[in-house]
């Protein structure tokens, strides 16, 4: 099967309307597009004939005949999302409505050679297919998220710090071997989380926002004028190495005082380790001892919940540094919303309050008056939702506007 599915300009407009509304009647399509009912009707008949749309239900009457509601035909096939994290691979099987049908997650190590990791991912894809009783040929498209900078049009990583072996490795080519009928779209993991938030989260319909993920590293996804801003090399949003303190500790990137080195998970664990050892915090010390002497950000989170002052202070410091950096970005970019996600977001409101306070203190009033800073409520699943959203984004494309050589 040829994919992505090419649509004429008229068909593409119907699909756009349908995507916005989820379900739609013929009359609504005519209203939205401005076409005559006649044209609308024949166009939709054609789309149903091709198997892309189906009449699935009757809507409620508004004083007359009930409308027949249309939606995408979930029988035409599946989309797959592959969310490659630093330590895990998630594989999601969904129908073309975006409903998640199967979800598998496995530990994985992206420092391994790309062929191995991708083979693992491909095996998982075959597994979810089996679980669903589906065939590989039924996969229409695959969206892939990777924790590194991506050349979006080529579907290739460029100079990824976490996974140097992946340089110039073509994820698209690999997946094309096992799933020749499917198109493959690859993007950076944080961009994908931002996309997920925009499609299925609180960022729905927003024009300008920043999605920031704080875990082992710190990265961000940027949406400008409603579209993902990837930058000229696909590495936009890499805020982890913005300098917060010229005298700060040396980061693995070689510079001093990077945000990531001072405020992310490892830095938090490091500070907590010292607080535990020095006796500054009994709670942290106890927790660390119960954990074989290993300090983790999760323990700090637990200590916060118990009200441990040292742990709280560590979190506040992180929040302030993150907020200081965000303050500059708010001045520069003027987003309407900032969404915070990642392991660190489990630290709760203390972190958020510290971030907000730092941003408000250092940003211009005009930029902060309507600014909202919140945790992503879909947080941990934003990536999973995003890879599906990415695949669905390119499931139907306007034949007049070719965009990438999938």
């Amino acid at each position: 099967m040829k994919t992505p599915i090419l649509l004429s300009a008229t068909e593409a407009e119907i699909v756009r309307a349908l995507r916005r509304k989820g379900q739609i009647s013929r009359t609504q399509v005519a209203d939205i597009t401005g076409w005559s009912k006649a044209k609308t009707s024949t166009e939709i008949r054609a789309l149903i004939g091709k198997g892309y749309l189906i009449e699935y239900d009757e809507g409620v009457s508004e004083g007359g005949r009930k409308p027949k509601l249309l939606r995408f035909n979930d029988q035409i096939g599946y989309v797959v999302g592959i969310d490659i994290g630093a330590t895990n691979v998630d594989v999601i099987l969904a129908d073309v409505l975006g409903n998640v049908l199967q979800l598998l997650s496995e530990p994985a190590d992206v420092r391994q050679p790309p062929a191995e990791v991708m083979a693992q991912a491909a095996a998982l894809v075959k597994l979810v297919l089996d679980l669903q009783g589906a065939q590989a040929e039924q996969i229409l498209g695959i969206g892939v998220g990777v924790p590194g900078p991506v050349d979006f049009t080529r579907g290739v990583l460029v100079a990824p710090p976490l996974m140097p072996d992946w340089e110039n490795y073509s994820i698209r080519s690999f997946l094309k071997q096992d799933f020749p009928g499917a198109f493959v779209v690859v993007d950076n993991d944080v961009n994908i989380m931002a996309l997920g938030e925009q499609r299925y989260g609180d960022a729905y319909g927003l024009e300008h926002f920043i999605f920031i993920k704080i875990g082992t590293g710190i990265g961000s996804g940027i949406v400008s004028n409603g579209k993902i801003h990837r930058g000229s090399n696909g590495c936009a949003g890499d805020i982890g190495h913005i300098c917060v303190d010229k005298q700060g500790p040396i980061c693995k990137c070689g510079n001093r005082g990077c945000l990531e080195a001072m405020a992310a998970g490892p830095a938090i664990a490091e500070k907590a380790f010292r607080a535990a050892q020095s006796g500054e915090s009994d709670i942290l010390r106890r927790m660390m001892n119960e954990n074989d002497g290993i300090m983790t950000p999760e323990l700090v989170s637990a200590a916060c919940r118990e009200g441990d002052e040292a742990a709280l202070e560590i979190i506040r410091e992180s929040g302030q540094m993150i907020g200081d950096v965000l303050a500059g970005l708010v001045n520069f970019f003027n987003p309407s919303h900032i969404f915070v996600a990642g392991g660190i977001s489990n630290f709760g409101n203390h972190l958020l309050v510290a971030i907000r306070r730092a941003v408000l203190r250092r940003s211009l009033p005009l930029a902060t008056t309507f600014l909202q800073i919140n945790f992503s409520r879909i947080g941990a699943t934003a990536g999973n939702k995003g890879v599906i959203a990415l695949a669905l984004e390119y499931l139907f494309v306007d034949e007049d506007k070719p965009f990438l050589n999938v």
Copy 2:
């Protein structure tokens, strides 16, 4: 006359093609659009009939009959640009091809009430009309640049720090009184410089770049995915108050160590003043004495050209601080180019080198490998070109896509 000129979707496509090429033959239009020659011919005949296009010359033969080249009809009227700076108002009269016909500049003080400044601008517009022997009715559109945050759709300033009286003052309404036939588009001055650079400068066709203006203040215009990024409140690009030193001097915004307060014109003059007084630099002292004891950035610039080490060090410091901030923005935004303009750009290569060095040191390799940082070669005139580009941008609009209530 009704303006902006509304075009059907087909007509709009021809206009887009024409804007890209500047001049075009019917056959080229048919090739670009994919329409039949018949349709192309009749559509163009209609546009000529309405007076929007003219056949102005014959092109060179490519082995057969010579094409008749089309372009916009410069007889249909004029566009006006009003570039309001902190200390000057520039008024430009141009034809619809973007050729500057008249240009007047007058000192002005934006701290005056807006009605006065706008009256001055309107008088200048009438003056350029007289000089050209043209009538007010012939003005099709007016592009306005102002040194403050603009709500683009309303054509109104919001919370402008330099010009508080302008809050909620409608530039559009004022100009509509004197020039009821013209549409009015208002934008921030740095956005406009970025637009000028994109249309008439070295940024031609670039997708992602930052235009930074360094003068009394420091501001930037951002282009993402080929379009001006204005942010959710229209104040994106306001990088002058990003913090470079938490222990720095207090800025007029109330915070400490803002980039603007430490690296812009006044800070440079201040440092030079001290160098002159302390005797650290004889050249600066002499120059200041010859200037009635008043130190200005221009004097520092002159001292640099004479090789004064103290002056050069001041410039290097400014460059480094600007570069430090830009480094963060490069990581975040990943532009392909940064263009530097404003009074400070007269300081020459020492400044640029210091900026580049700081950016290269602190930004990620991937983001800097292909990054170019240069002075805007159209620099001082970028704003003038930008206001005309802005007016031309909305001269013809697609009737199906209303965008602003001009």
